[in-house]
């Protein structure tokens, strides 16, 4: 499975309050979530993103509150995946659970700028930066996580477990 798009670049410690401010935490509709995604950082975020684009971030992306509306809003805005040096743990599991693929690759982050064209081979473990002509690797997902990702999120696993 491949993700292909251009890079939206952010820095370190992007917290979930910034991704989805408390005042919007009552929203549950995808279109509305997309509209407010990242608005305290960049009010035009949702207008700049095309389907499949990739957020590239420094350390500790998604720290702070456990609000699942944060990754949901990112997914709803059309982002295909996130590459970061590291993720905060609740954000990490939320993203996996809702089927928003995320990858840890410090080397890729170091070498990548806004607007670059990225292609991620999810299970092959490689990220190609076409603009820079470079290739990076990331550690493969543990088997259980791979199963969840392949099933498009935790839902598939639950239904299988319940024999539905």
């Amino acid at each position: 499975m491949n993700i292909k798009g251009k890079v939206y670049r952010v820095g370190e410690n992007i917290n979930t309050d910034v991704i989805m401010p408390g005042r919007w935490c009552h929203l549950t509709d995808d279109a509305e979530l997309a509209e407010h995604c990242m608005e305290d950082l960049d009010a035009d975020f949702h207008k700049k993103i095309s389907k499949g684009d990739v957020i590239v971030a420094d350390d500790n992306f998604g720290c702070g509150s456990s609000r699942e509306v944060a990754p949901l809003s990112i997914k709803a805005s059309g982002i295909g995946g996130i590459v970061a040096k590291s993720f905060a743990r609740i954000f990490y599991r939320n993203a996996i659970n809702i089927g928003l693929p995320i990858f840890e690759s410090p080397e890729c982050v170091e070498a990548t700028e806004a607007g670059d064209e990225l292609e991620i081979d999810m299970f092959g473990g490689t990220i190609i930066n076409h603009t820079k002509g470079r290739e990076f690797t990331f550690a493969p997902f543990p088997p259980f996580m791979k199963t969840i990702i392949e099933k498009g999120g935790l839902k598939g696993w639950v239904l299988e477990k319940l024999g539905k």
Binding site: G22, D40, N60, S66, E68, I90, I98, F144
Partner: protein
């Protein structure tokens, strides 16, 4: 190889040996959510077509973030949760008026017990680690899955051991110890780890300070913050309403002597002065003597971090016979209805009101910038809560300084950040 507290609890639940990094599916003893995370979880369950919960006795729902409902939207969300609780006979649905802020309610009602696993749709679920339970924040999809299957997937975390020894100076409490720790470790210093707090300082402090510290384990990125079980834990756990009624059995998790810790720190607390986390991060911490001339517009004292009875006592001690400075608003947020009731028994609300504070109902409102005390443009707030990210309590330009309750109260009297010695 020996087990840490976290490994012991996970191994017992998984029924196998565990090692850090491994992913295990474990039964959960409680899956908890507030109205916001619950509403999303319920939406998921409906999408999945799940009609039946694995065990309604292991579900806990507490409306607190925008409750009592701040507007029509919030009322709608709370209603979804209420209806769900009724339909499924959820045992631990705690309505406004019988609850408060989730993390202050849960351990005091006995909803979680030592040695158990709780997941909660809120990052500060780690608070209950103070009573020796593996409690960790997750997202709504995890909660939905746990309600449906009774299980959760967890990566066995590496453990960190933080040891606090020495004698505390006056007006220095658990809040200052955890802020001092955040200054040292940073907001990602313990990412994916289970912190174990140890040391002789916890013999000097009441159990409430453990909750404050476990609460902010997440601020260092940790999965949970755990304390050992001792006489203080037993006394608390065995006086909770649930325990008094049911006397449920529980299994204390004691770390092995040869347990392995990925990170270790020993702090000498004797030199620590009250700590202040300055805008805009809980790890931007300074000694209070270095924070000069910060005028404030508002003080918030309470929340799931510092809304425990002892915290209210410490603040009341400062306010007794004094007045809040002109131009300052003070909001007292007891952690729960039970705590508020105890505060009344001790005459604390009267002291707050005489000083010119609001004695609020127990809600998350101001802490999350939701309602009941939202900050306006350029306003400055001293707060005993746990986060001070930009915009956390209101306008993006507003600033929040995190302190302990005695310092927050003194600051309210002074009109600027200062210590109880200065009032």
């Amino acid at each position: 190889m020996g087990y840490t507290i976290a490994e012991k609890i996970l191994a017992e639940h998984a029924g196998t040996e565990v090692t850090p990094g491994q992913i295990v599916n474990v039964p959960v003893d409680m899956a908890m959510a507030n109205e916001l995370s619950a509403a999303l979880a319920i939406k998921e369950l409906n999408k999945w077509g799940i009609e039946k919960l694995a065990d309604p006795e292991k579900v806990c729902l507490i409306p607190d973030h925008f409750s009592p409902a701040k507007d029509i939207n919030a009322a709608g969300i709370a209603k979804v949760v209420h209806d769900f609780a009724r339909k499924h006979n959820v045992k631990w649905y705690l309505e406004v008026g019988r609850a408060g802020i989730e993390h202050a309610v849960i351990p005091l009602e006995g909803i979680i017990l030592p040695g158990q696993i709780m997941i909660g749709g809120d990052s500060h679920t780690c608070t209950a680690g103070a009573v020796n339970s593996f409690s960790t924040g997750v997202g709504s999809t995890d909660i939905a899955a746990a309600w449906a299957t009774g299980e959760v997937w967890l990566k066995v975390p590496r453990s960190a051991r933080l040891i606090y020894n020495g004698k505390l100076r006056p007006h220095v409490y658990g809040k200052d110890l955890i802020l001092h720790t955040l200054k040292d470790l940073g907001t990602a210093g313990a990412t994916y780890m289970a912190i174990e707090f140890q040391g002789d300082v916890f013999d000097q402090l009441p159990i409430w300070d453990r909750f404050t510290m476990a609460n902010m384990a997440i601020e260092a990125g940790a999965k949970t913050g755990l304390f050992r079980f001792d006489d203080k834990t037993r006394e608390l756990v065995e006086s909770t309403p649930r325990y008094l009624v049911d006397q449920p059995e529980y299994h204390v998790a004691k770390p092995d002597d040869n347990a392995v810790y990925a990170l270790e720190r020993v702090y000498d607390v004797s030199d620590i002065e009250p700590q202040v986390a300055c805008p805009f991060s809980p790890d931007n911490v300074r000694n209070i003597s270095e924070v000069k001339d910060v005028k404030i517009d508002q003080a918030v004292i309470g929340s799931c971090t510092n809304g425990w009875l002892e915290d209210l006592r410490r603040a009341a001690e400062v306010f007794r016979g004094r007045k809040v400075a002109d131009n300052v608003r003070v909001i007292i947020l007891p952690g729960s209805q039970r705590i508020a009731r105890q505060a009344f028994d001790e005459g604390l609300p009267q002291i707050f009101i005489d000083a010119g504070c609001i004695f609020s109902t127990s809600t998350c409102g101001p802490c999350i910038g939701g309602h009941m005390g939202v900050l306006g443009e350029n306003e400055v707030c001293v707060s005993t809560t746990n986060r001070n990210f930009a915009g956390r309590m209101g306008h993006l330009s507003s600033e929040v300084y995190l302190t302990n309750p005695a310092v927050a109260a003194a600051s309210a009297v002074l009109g600027r950040i200062g210590t109880p010695d200065e009032v």
